[in-house]
Symmetry: C2
Subunit: 543 residues, 2 copies
Amino acid sequence: MINFETSPAEYRHWKLKIDGAAATLAMDVNEDEALGEGYKLKLNSYDLGVDIELADAVERLRFEHPEVKVVVITSLKPRIFCAGANIYMLGASSHGRKVNFCKFTNETRCAIEDDSRHSGRSYVAALNGSASGGGYELALACDEIYLVDDGNAAVSLPETPLLGVLPGTGGLTRLVDKRKVRRDRADVFSTLAEGLRGKRAKEWGLIDDCFPTTGFEDAIAARVGELMAAGAGRKAGPGVKLNPLRVEATNDARAYSYVSLLLNREKRVADLTVRGPAGDSPADPTEIQKLGDAYWPLQAYRELDDALLHLRINEPEIGLVCLRAEGEIENVLSVDRALADNRDHWLAREIRLLMARVLRRLDLTAKSFFTIIEPGSCFAGNLLELALAADRSYMLNDPQRRVVIATGAMNGGALPMSNGLTRLESRFLAHPERVDDVLRHAVAFDAEAADEAGLITFAPDILDWDDEIRVAIEERAALSPDALTGMEASLRFAGPETTETKIFGRLTAWQNWIFQRPNAVGEQGALTNYGKPSKPKFDFKRT
Amino acid sequence: MINFETSPAEYRHWKLKIDGAAATLAMDVNEDEALGEGYKLKLNSYDLGVDIELADAVERLRFEHPEVKVVVITSLKPRIFCAGANIYMLGASSHGRKVNFCKFTNETRCAIEDDSRHSGRSYVAALNGSASGGGYELALACDEIYLVDDGNAAVSLPETPLLGVLPGTGGLTRLVDKRKVRRDRADVFSTLAEGLRGKRAKEWGLIDDCFPTTGFEDAIAARVGELMAAGAGRKAGPGVKLNPLRVEATNDARAYSYVSLLLNREKRVADLTVRGPAGDSPADPTEIQKLGDAYWPLQAYRELDDALLHLRINEPEIGLVCLRAEGEIENVLSVDRALADNRDHWLAREIRLLMARVLRRLDLTAKSFFTIIEPGSCFAGNLLELALAADRSYMLNDPQRRVVIATGAMNGGALPMSNGLTRLESRFLAHPERVDDVLRHAVAFDAEAADEAGLITFAPDILDWDDEIRVAIEERAALSPDALTGMEASLRFAGPETTETKIFGRLTAWQNWIFQRPNAVGEQGALTNYGKPSKPKFDFKRT
């Protein structure tokens, strides 16, 4: 079982150093501490274990070190920044593991960009040596890329020429869409195993600048100084400690404080329940700050995030997740109001951004989600987003036991999907005026009003309820898991596309295809043959 | 070898009837006239042969019957509109054949939408019986969908529940992006093998209306009358006959009048040469109309289209296509001026739209393209788009034999890519101001100027020329064909996304993945098992 929780004291592969408003996140992969068997993490190559630490460091910078304005990502290995994902690890991984590994590393890189875009922290990739494949893709996720000019250091994406696969962490998309490298140059670069060095890399826009070895550290320090000066107006802090999550795990359940996960492996179904806050939440940022990581939205969404990651990686056969919410609607809405009223306070902002990332993690999870809205539930405000994120929702329509859902201050734009729209906007593409209608709706929606407003899929009455849900669950769990993944990826993100949807939709789908092709993973495929004396043999039919 | 040329007199599966400003395109698939062996085209199911006729009919409507304002797509089979792609054909096809079949059918549906959007012709799907899978997807490509309400007829996308694959002709994308069906309803509908009938289909936005059997024909006729009245102002005609292309085919070459294709199968490389017009072209629309299908751009692009389709389907092992252009730059530019000056004339518009579609066919071809710009070439105006569409370009830099390229009236917006941008806009995403600079550039660009302006990738001198190109070709042809397909699909379409790029990028990539998965095509996969007494067995791991 893979554990996604860690902390700087436990890092094996990264060193996080805070120096006032600047932080250095230095990669120093311990080659003997791989997560799996049978490969060594040479040359700062990485596996999921390395990336879990990186994700943790970025998250902690945001909550524990809000005073940090610039993060330098560099390496402690001489003459090598990072060799990318470990190829032997990839070659030995099952298809599902490869795909899930790429998805997590992509989310981590998107989280870096999310920090930069929304929290104004600058990320500087200080490439003190060669950055190949995933190493260069990590740099591409940063705001600025500087490469040492030592006559040897290069940036490269050798996946296509050497391994017969794609750079799997957004590299192709970020080349042309983020850095806007000319597509013919991107084509040349992406087929050039040795990559490009200093001057040409700069001319083509692959890096921002290069500096000779002797002046490299000074040049980076000077640039960091400039960025810190530019960010001097940003006020944040003091930080909030992210303590380890408390979870009681048994064979078929995980119980956190506000989240619980119940697995029915035989039926391939899980129940994922979020409990709302127990009482009123503080409205004042000082009080919120005092609560720290015990503040409901921070704790509940950290738990939800962990549960989603657990489901993805450790429970591949669970195909359908039933989302439930328990608690008082008013308590959830009071959290939303507090976060909205304090939207300019750094901690409220960071909590909101975390919630948005967790909900996007749900959108991007290759499992079906049904929301079950029953008496005692609290699908309101931020938790209503769970219902809107689900592939469909069932709400009990029983005059005897009235169930309601409600919109709140967080449904209007605070928690955007990867496509840049809110979940309400995505839902009402055909009737954009309905978004405001439901946001302005002063009272909660009972089942009939929710059905009328288009907020739920079905509203069975009590006579049909049990059967309808049982049959829907059984039918869903019986369908082809692959067709469902492709179908859900196609239906969940209507409307505009962003770099993020391109990475998780288009690029990921192509990579998944290639990861399945004999030319990559067959006996004589390029990925299988990497590092062996034999050369790969291709079926040259173009498809 | 599959032949993409046909004409109404040769149709085996469709009846095209013209009645003044209305046309009826009726599907009446001859089950014994399948393109391949071992399956019958029952219930108006289709294979590539059926779709080649549909594509031909849509093209001929545009050129030969410009007076037609409304096209009704219906079926001559009682109680069945169309059962979609033939499943036994899919089950028996190689991976490459399945993928190429889907790509062509998708292009045909996009051509219907292109006709509707840009030429103002209305397409009405008159579903006189059930439309399942590809049958409903064909309806989705039309402007309006009407379903008979006979207690039985339904629209459905049974691919996921019955076959473990995706609807492969844009259905999922058009559901949520074109018809803006709510995503949870789209989820329910796409997992419901039997689909939905009349009233509910209408309520969910899957169809525009339904009419009882007795009133169905009258209701369609009434709607056609309204659409004809609305389109009464549109002036076009008389039509231009599309005569059969003349092509001399040998084992390793195809020679058309303006296009030639030379295959080197051992090296997996083809030369595709377009010859410019022989002399001055007419500037006057009456003269153009007189030339008809012998007018250079119409003939040359029809030939180019045929050559591209031939390369895709009949020459799967050709991985790299070297694009060449021969002729006088001034002759090409004079065609561009004529088309631009007469942009409101129906024939000039149709020719321009055809050119745009052919160039998009090239953009969407899963082969690498290098443009080779040598003395005697004429990469100017519309033919410059070939160089801009290529993955990279090589231009000889030789002061002794000056080679030039030039922009013209057609590079500014007349020939958009699938993403809605021009190829110049896509190229200069990082420097949008350069688009106007090169468009306004009064003189032709020699190699150094072209290099400076960013219009070409490399400008080797005469000493390096042969070696550099030889090595580049050899290296390209040696790479993994699958990785190249995914890489090119990712690099060619930076910037915005459209329904079309979503279909050819995201949806296609997911479908290709699923078409490769054991759950669909393995011995116990759902596609393999279709129609057999045995049930499919799934590996239920979600990926």
